[in-house]
């Protein structure tokens, strides 16, 4: 110790003498390193510490919350009714357990909503949210090889608006402007690190009839032409022609979705599918005529909506008439061109005009999951299903109910955003 002190003193004296003689002193390597790095290295180190602290704070905020259980004061059961409190255990993005419960336990990593209503995530089966371009190829009217998944952008801002409305899954469908428009895709509205958001890349094959399909620059140009082309397209598969998707349709490996806006086309078009034993769901919206019996006979489900407040009472009452005819009912939001909140509004308006509330709740969750072919993954709160659930402040059929929390794959989605103006594509 004394030696060291003596050494340091001698070094200082030498340094002072050298300075006086304007001779650069020979410094030790460590001294050089220390001197050269001393002023700004400290600054760097300080900045590094600060940045680290900030990053850690930011990271802490961005780390998605994955509760081990979600508890709510009430929940929507399989039949659409609202029952008492439930605790949903979540593990690796799946529902591990569903147990009745009362109150909120004092446990960490448990999200509890004592006044909330837990429901399966809402599903919009007629959506073009997240598509980066037009979902239609207009050069030919029969194009079964088009896939909606090709234009999907999972980072699209549309999905934020859907999450805020409690919509956790959408079926991306091509536009209904061709006789055969291609395959839909079923995707979740958020990408989590747990599961692949694409539930089904090769979804129902979509068909369309009616005036939106007619065109002057290519076939078909008329109603009879459209129906003729439809039959030819369906027969192409059964005749062994190399239309793989049509073949799959005929073989029962692929399902069909038919867009039919005019009632006069419904029975003819559905019969074309029925004659070939092809199960088909129909998107037939806003009609005043009661075609429930025909739909019950030929169609596996009917998609209606979105409703708006300026619609005729007869139109709003068709949901109840279809349901009473025994047709499985599905509500559509047609996001993002229509407001994501329109899905719930459609259900609520239908209830105002006679639809059973339980049926209305199922028409946003369970039935659309079945129609989209993903009912084993989503659409209900059961063990083994994906933990895609939404907590509302009240019955989701009440216009005053707001979304308290959204979980996709058991991950809580951030829905508290400052900017609530619509994305400019119609979402509000």
């Amino acid at each position: 110790m004394v030696r060291r002190l003596l050494y340091i003193r001698q070094a200082r004296n030498r340094l002072a003498a050298d300075r006086a003689a304007c001779v650069r002193p020979r410094e030790s390597k460590s001294a050089i390193q220390m001197k050269s790095s001393a002023p700004w290295t400290w600054a760097l180190m300080f900045a590094g510490v600060v940045c680290g602290l900030i990053t850690s704070q930011v990271s802490a905020g961005e780390v998605p919350r994955r509760p081990s259980a979600i508890i709510a004061g009430r929940h929507v059961a399989q039949d659409g009714s609202i029952l008492g409190g439930v605790a949903v255990g979540v593990n690796e993005g799946r529902i591990q357990s569903v147990t009745p419960t009362e109150g909120c336990p004092d446990q960490a990593n448990v999200d509890c909503y004592p006044q909330g209503v837990l429901t399966p995530g809402l599903i919009d089966v007629l959506s073009q949210a997240g598509a980066r371009s037009n979902l239609i190829e207009m050069s030919k009217s029969i194009d079964p090889y088009v896939s909606a998944i090709s234009s999907l952008d999972l980072e699209h801002r549309d999905f934020e608006d859907l999450q805020e409305a409690g919509i956790t899954t959408v079926m991306l469908v091509p536009s209904a402007r061709n006789v055969v428009s291609g395959c839909a895709a079923v995707v979740k509205t958020a990408r989590t690190s747990v599961c692949d958001p694409v539930l089904r890349s090769e979804g129902p094959l979509t068909f369309s009839v009616g005036s939106p399909v007619w065109s002057y620059d290519r076939a078909p140009t008329s109603r009879i032409g459209t129906l003729s082309m439809l039959r030819d397209a369906l027969d192409a598969g059964s005749q062994g022609k190399p239309e793989a998707r049509i073949q799959a349709l005929n073989a029962g490996r692929l399902d069909a979705l038919l867009f039919c806006s005019e009632p006069m086309d419904v029975s003819t078009a559905l019969r074309a599918f029925a004659e070939r034993n092809i199960p088909v769901a129909i998107a037939h919206t806003s009609d005043e005529k009661d075609i429930g019996p025909e739909l019950a006979r030929w169609s596996r489900a009917v998609i209606i909506g979105p409703y708006s407040m300026d619609m005729d009472p007869k139109t709003l009452a068709t949901a109840a008439s279809y349901a009473s005819a025994g047709v499985p009912l599905v509500f559509a939001g047609r996001t993002p061109h229509h407001s994501p909140h329109g899905l719930r509004m459609t259900a609520a308006l239908a209830v105002q005009y006679g639809l059973n509330p339980n049926t209305a709740r199922n028409a946003m969750t369970t039935i659309p999951a079945t129609l989209a072919g993903v009912s084993k993954r989503i659409g209900s709160i059961h063990e083994g299903m994906d933990a895609d659930v939404v907590v509302f402040s009240d019955d989701p059929l009440r216009p005053s109910a707001r979304v308290l929390a959204v979980y996709i794959d058991g991950v809580k989605i951030n829905i508290d955003r400052d900017n609530h103006v619509n994305s400019g594509r119609g979402a509000s």
């Binding site: 407040m309 300026d310 407001s339 909140h341 105002q352 216009p399 005053s400 707001r402 103006v421």
Partner: protein, 514 residues
């Protein structure tokens, strides 16, 4: 002998007493029947201003709410409505709607009146609206950009056998649309036209004020002249008389009526049509090529007339001419005088700011309708103390119209945070949207608003329409506009069983006993 036949005289007296008694009792009964009270027993009452009375009864008489008590004994001959397990609320008020309106007015004149376009036979819409509990609707005049006309407030009271609707305020507001969906140039022209209309109204007022001063001056001068003439006539009683003022003019002479001459000055039409016709007839007298030879007497009278005419010219007091009546400007003046508000439909933030500028410039009472982008100028609205009436909270297709592109369902919440007074209506979307007023109001709570939706479309809406002392609340002394729900209002399975306006049953749901 029986007491009533003891004597003829007694019999007559007794008969008269009997008749009097029958008449009195009959009058009392008739009065009771005509002003028959209605008692709503044991219902849950939502007063409309946030108050909740779990179990009480409401007594209604002569169209007004008389009592609200826990227990009320049914008055004689009253009708009792059992409301056990039901909820009673005030009738809902649509502060901005278009119910029962035929083709919207397109004349773009302030004199267009919403009541004139009201279809009182649109029973389907009325029934649908009453079925949802809406009893009062503010009818906007509709039409394109610019001055749309005057609005009216209608209650859906059945009138004759098939008609319905009764205006409780015929001229409720002067309506202006700033055309938020139009091009920039059109919107600039619209606001300029509105400003011009206000300026014209102010000029009209000044012209009227000048006219009144001129009239006073004229009367004063007439008085002075009369006094002067009286003095002169006292001094010189034999002097030639001046022509009486209202004598016809001598032949060949033209009577110069104020503003009407043969020389071709523009004819001013006065209020007195007869004077105007006279003026016209004088001005269109045919011009002769050769003068008619005058007789001696005529010559003298002509000379006298000429002299008198000259004198007359010097002494003539010009009668002031009233400015022609301008009904449009009169309506604008009513708005300037705050007799009714100016309702401005504006959706874009720029148009809302123009509305605020109009308010400041002419010191108007302004209510902004629509206000899609109000959240962007919420602070300015609060500073100017402007009330806002919002339309649909959730628009199914906002991209369909340019003015709705920045629609936000949290508009009401942002306005609440900024301290702006607001309410909701059904808006101009369709003529049947009034029936979803409750639906629309409930949607505000889904996007952050804490205020109960019922208060928004009852008490708050009544205050905005300046009818807060008449309807919108369940309070003693107010008009008995009541709705009886079979459950909690707003619940998916809750429906309206009965609706009353001024104590009169206007809607009864199927299957419900009257």
């Amino acid at each position: 002998m029986p007491w009533f036949i003891t004597s003829k005289r007694r019999g007559i007296v007794n008969a008269r007493l009997l008749i009097a008694w029958v008449v009195i009792v009959g009058c009392v009964c008739e009065a009771q029947v005509l002003s028959r009270a209605t008692l709503f027993e044991n219902g849950r009452i939502l007063t409309g201003d946030g108050g909740v009375i779990e179990k009480a009864s409401v007594l209604v008489r002569d169209g007004l709410i008389e009592h609200i008590e826990k227990e009320i004994a049914p008055p004689f001959l009253s009708k009792v409505v059992d409301c056990q397990g039901k909820t009673i609320t005030p009738g809902l008020i649509n502060a901005w709607g278009s119910l029962g309106r035929l083709n919207p007015t397109v004349s773009q004149s302030a004199t267009s009146h919403a009541w004139d376009a009201f279809d009182c036979y649109d029973r389907t819409s009325f029934r649908e609206t009453l079925r949802r509990g809406v009893t009062t609707v503010y009818l906007a005049p509709g039409g394109g950009s610019g001055v749309a006309g005057t609005a009216t407030i209608v209650q859906l009271v059945p009138g004759s056998e098939s008609a319905a609707g009764h205006p409780i305020t015929e001229h409720a507001a002067l309506c202006v649309k700033l055309g938020s969906g139009d091009s920039t140039a059109t919107r600039a022209r619209t606001i300029y036209a509105v400003r011009k209309a206000f300026e014209k109204a102010i000029d009209y007022r000044h012209a009227l004020e000048d006219y009144e001063e001129d009239v006073k001056e004229y009367v004063k001068k007439l008085k002075e002249r009369k006094e002067k003439e009286e003095k002169e006539s006292k001094n010189t009683p034999d002097e030639g008389s001046n022509e009486p003022k209202d004598s016809p003019p001598p032949k060949g002479e033209s009577k110069k009526k104020s503003g009407s001459t043969i020389e071709g000055e523009p004819l001013e039409l006065n209020d007195n049509r007869l004077d105007a016709m006279k003026a016209l007839s004088y001005s269109f007298q045919p011009q002769r090529r050769r003068p008619i030879p005058k007789k001696a007497e005529d010559k003298e009278s002509t000379e006298t007339g000429e002299k008198g005419g000259k004198d007359k010219k010097e002494d003539e007091i010009k009668k002031p001419v009233r400015p022609p009546r301008d009904p449009e400007s009169e309506l604008f003046l009513l708005a300037i005088d705050h007799r009714f508000p100016l309702r401005i439909e504006a959706h874009r933030s720029a148009d809302i700011e123009n509305a605020l500028a109009l308010k400041r410039e002419y010191n108007l009472e302004v209510i902004v309708e629509g206000a899609t982008e109000a959240y962007l100028v919420a602070k300015e609205l609060a500073d100017e103390n402007v009330t806002v009436v919002l339309g649909p909270v959730v628009r199914s297709d906002p991209a369909s119209r340019e003015e709705f592109l920045r629609h936000s369902s949290r508009n009401a919440y942002e306005l609440t945070e900024a301290g702006v007074q607001w309410t909701v209506g059904s808006g101009e979307d369709g003529t049947v949207a009034s029936r979803f007023l409750a639906f629309n109001a409930q949607s505000t709570q889904a996007f952050g608003v804490q205020r109960n939706w019922l208060e928004t479309v009852t008490a708050s809406a009544a205050d905005v329409l300046k009818l807060g002392d008449r309807i919108g609340r369940i309070r003693a002394g107010l008009q008995a506009d009541l709705v009886v729900w079979n459950g909690e209002p707003g619940a998916p399975d809750s429906t309206v069983e009965r609706a009353y306006i001024a104590g009169k049953l206007v809607f009864l749901a199927p299957g419900i006993e009257p």
